[in-house]
């Protein structure tokens, strides 16, 4: 194990490198724009994108569409995670149930979400609901698998301990199973968070009147490529935000792992 100050040096160095690479990215981009001399609707310059960003920010459209997508992503993530952990827990506890359901679960994974997204939009309308469901579906499987793996990995001797103390089911769930499987559960949430963003965009690209996917498509139709760039950056910010939330959760609940 490195000594503390070495560790600090290492993390701050890697942070510095990350920052440097982002800072270098913008001049490089500007350089490519100037050198290639492409029209603005093919490759806008950083300044073009910035101007477009400020404009969209000021007329309120950016905040509006971003928050719509954020709500879809968040609701989908919560819904998918909720169902996946409940079903996953039941499957982890019952081999029979797993045998009955696993063919369906595996088959459902063979269908790409892109293929059924149009169906869902037809059935559920072009509003928020269809996107939330698409997000939930895409989040469901990885969280389910992680829940099963996590709950199955709870050590048998700890069940012995709880049973010798006559713990009830509720206590076993909250004092043993959830904390013991939390590292794996949060790992599932981390994957789910990223996938949920993808789900929302897939849904919005199929048909929507609002959201970043809609903005993306609008920019595309109107040759407003700077707008497309702005939308893409907002998506990155969204994904990073969710990633950050999961990391915070891990810091809070997995202190013991360091």
């Amino acid at each position: 194990m490195p000594r503390p100050y070495e560790k600090i040096m290492k993390t701050s160095l890697s942070r510095l490198l990350g920052l440097l690479s982002i800072l270098l990215f913008i001049p490089l981009w500007e350089l490519i724009v100037r050198a290639s001399d492409l029209p603005k609707f093919i490759l806008p310059s950083p300044a073009d994108v910035w101007t477009r960003f400020i404009k969209a920010l000021n007329d309120g459209s950016l905040i509006y569409h971003t928050s719509i997508t954020f709500i879809e992503v968040l609701l989908g993530l919560l819904l998918g995670t909720l169902f996946a952990t409940i079903v996953g827990y039941m499957l982890a506890k019952s081999k029979t149930l797993e045998k009955i359901l696993s063919p369906y679960l595996v088959a459902s994974q063979a269908i790409p979400i892109v293929a059924i997204a149009p169906l869902l939009v037809i059935w559920l309308g072009d509003g928020i609901l269809s996107k939330v469901v698409i997000c939930a579906l895409i989040v469901f499987f990885p969280v389910l698998i992680n829940t099963i793996v996590g709950v199955r990995a709870v050590s048998a001797p700890l069940y012995d301990l709880m049973n010798s103390l006559r713990a009830n089911r509720f206590q076993i769930l909250f004092k043993l199973e959830i904390p013991a499987s939390l590292p794996v559960l949060l790992g599932g949430l981390r994957i789910g968070a990223t996938l949920s963003v993808i789900g929302a965009i897939v849904g919005e690209l199929v048909d929507a009147e609002q959201g970043l996917g809609f903005l993306l498509q609008l920019g595309d139709f109107q040759y407003d490529t700077s707008m497309v760039f702005v939308a893409v950056f907002m998506l990155i910010v969204l994904a990073l935000l969710l990633y950050g939330i999961v990391t915070l959760l891990e810091r809070r609940f997995l202190k013991w792992m360091k």
């Binding site: 050590s155 700890l158 301990l161 010798s164 103390l165 206590q171 904390p179």
Partner: protein
């Protein structure tokens, strides 16, 4: 002193069935234990000692026979496992507190009891450490504390001192002896050490090689309190010899 019966084990047999073979772990075990009695089980590895404790704790069901308690109520059990068996996500203090939490004990009282226990087993300063930062012996002491904290009627100890150094082990013997005498508990302890069993027990039962049967049921009529010196008495030597011969 006429002591009341605590539990009766009758015609106990355990067969573990795997896919292609079945293991006969215990065969026809019968014994009675009195309340406040300290009983040690000795036996070679694989003779079913852990299995016997798990049966008594009702963690597994016997293939034949039964375990009956005679406390007049469901006895509270404190179990100390062969491995420390700690929750990695809980600190030392939180691990020790667990049995009290499960009884919905008041938080402040639970904290105080756990702190006293930490002091007793010499883990002061490690209250907020996580199990991964403990040595094997320290972890085992946390396990022992957790087994005692809720003042159980029946203590089931599975080689609790195996991973301690000689000095700590002997200190723990004295502590356990004191706790047992002060709190009047019934103790069933599994061990590999003849010295340990003679130092602590009222009675030692020796199990045979698998399938485990009771080979010897011996009263330890050494005076209490017992100290280091007792090991050099001729009676201690005689009892030790008897046990050694039985263990084969």
């Amino acid at each position: 002193m006429i002591s009341k019966p605590a539990l009766a084990v009758k015609d106990l047999s355990v067969v573990f069935d795997d896919e292609n073979n079945s293991i006969h772990a215990l065969e026809n075990i019968s014994f009675n234990i009195h309340q406040q009695e300290f009983v040690c089980f000795l036996g070679p590895s694989g003779s079913g000692k852990t299995t016997l404790l798990r049966l008594i704790a009702n963690l597994i069901k016997p293939t034949f026979g039964e375990v009956n308690f005679m406390f007049g109520h469901q006895p509270k059990i404190g179990m100390v496992f062969q491995q420390p068996n700690l929750m990695t996500w809980r600190t030392v203090l939180e691990n020790i507190k667990l049995p009290l939490e499960l009884e919905n004990e008041d938080k402040d009282i639970a904290n105080q009891k756990a702190k006293d226990m930490i002091e007793l087993v010499g883990l002061k300063g490690f209250e907020n450490s996580y199990p991964r930062d403990l040595s094997g012996g320290m972890a085992q002491r946390v396990g022992l504390s957790r087994g005692l904290i809720h003042d159980p009627d029946l203590l089931l100890l599975d080689e609790p001192f195996a991973s301690l150094d000689a000095l700590t082990r002997e200190r723990m013997w004295t502590e356990l002896s004191n706790i047992w005498q002060a709190k009047q508990k019934t103790v069933i302890m599994v061990t590999h050490s003849i010295n340990e069993s003679l130092f602590l027990a009222d009675r030692v039962l020796v199990l045979t090689q698998r399938p485990g049967k009771i080979k010897l049921d011996m009263q330890v009529d050494l005076p209490r309190p017992r100290d280091e010196e007792i090991r050099y008495t001729s009676h201690f030597g005689k009892l030790a010899k008897k046990l050694r011969d039985a263990i084969e």
